[in-house]
Symmetry: C2
Subunit: 214 residues, 2 copies
């Protein structure tokens, strides 16, 4: 059955991004360190053009990110570090390089309309100005029975949770504290979950939760 | 080697107690649900005068709470739900009943001096008005080479972390969200940790961290 899900890395103190996000620190100060477990993996390195890396208990977690996934929904800040109208840098085509790792439609929540951006390798960014409900509806339709991945950031995760869109999520808890930043579960109430899987991996703990509905 | 450590249960959104703590809800609204994994255990039930219960992957976590532990440091609120001077209820001898589960010296941080309270079974509560440094020093001394357990609550954990007293901690993450309450790592900065153990248990994930010092 198709699901809407997210998988994110958080710190021991619960932040998925550090403070003071900007173009230099897209994940906020210290935020990139959250993903060290991922940067070490052979399958991550291969998907992003690097060589080397290791296989370990985290490798399947990386593999499943886009397995059986038909569409992605993300916040503007995950596409582009700067805010405001697009005209302040018309050449900027996002963080992800010319061949983003998605290879599927990606719906970007933004206040600023923009024509779809067709990248290499099957990724197309669609810019949705009508809010999370519209983005989720379009993503579900285009996913055609596959899963919808809510990519982030924190604000988009919060909106997807608050809108009861999320069926399942996987939290990867990295062994560091950020002290400040953005939390995925702020502004969310009434969410009930069930722990369905724990993965003990080098330098990270992965826990999968299913959202319980009446 | 003797350590100073804590082991606490937190929600998926990082709270170790819910909001609005009072005598009726000593762990705040919803906070008691955090500990469901523990209430189900045979060894916990036995230690608190109940019968029945199960043995599972969480049982050793419960056993180690007081194993090789020589003294406990806790906040006033973990001893007594009300605040302020003791005189407002001189008969109140704490949450823990006549035979508290500690069976060792317990140092209670408080602003209000009080004579030590000798309970059955070897637990003596000492009331420390000189702050966390004094409480830690007295606990270490009386522990005589055994571990010091920082019992909680959140404010006392924060003070112990901020004072660089903690060598190790175990987080038990319960599959629920509280939405508000008290977090153990607020007001703590510069803490570096290493993941040393993950325990996949029914309805809870236990992760052990070692504090890394230069």
């Amino acid at each position: 059955m198709s699901k809407t899900r997210f998988q994110i890395t958080i710190s021991v103190d619960g932040y998925m991004a550090g403070p003071n996000q900007d173009e230099e620190n897209p994940l906020g100060v210290g935020g990139e360190d959250l993903h060290r477990w991922m940067f070490a993996l052979a399958n991550w390195r291969q998907s992003t053009g690097y060589t080397g890396g290791v296989d370990n208990a985290s490798s399947p977690v990386m593999d499943e990110m886009f397995a059986n996934t038909g569409a992605v929904v993300m916040g503007r800040n995950m596409f582009s570090g700067f805010r405001g109208p697009w005209s302040n840098d018309p050449d900027w085509r996002g963080w992800w390089g010319e061949d983003p790792p998605y290879h599927m439609p990606v719906f970007v929540l933004t206040h600023y309309a923009r024509e779809p951006l067709v990248m290499e390798g099957g990724t197309t960014f669609y810019f949705v100005t009508e809010g999370v409900d519209a983005a989720m509806a379009r993503a579900r339709e285009v996913a055609a029975g596959k899963d919808v991945l809510v990519g982030g950031g924190a604000n988009t995760i919060q909106q997807a949770l608050a809108g009861s869109y999320v069926d399942e999520f996987l939290l990867s808890v990295s062994p560091l504290l950020l002290g400040a930043g953005e939390r995925p579960f702020d502004n969310v109430s009434g969410l009930r979950v069930e722990q369905t899987q724990v993965i003990d991996a080098p330098g990270v703990t992965h826990v999968r939760y299913r959202v319980v509905r009446d």
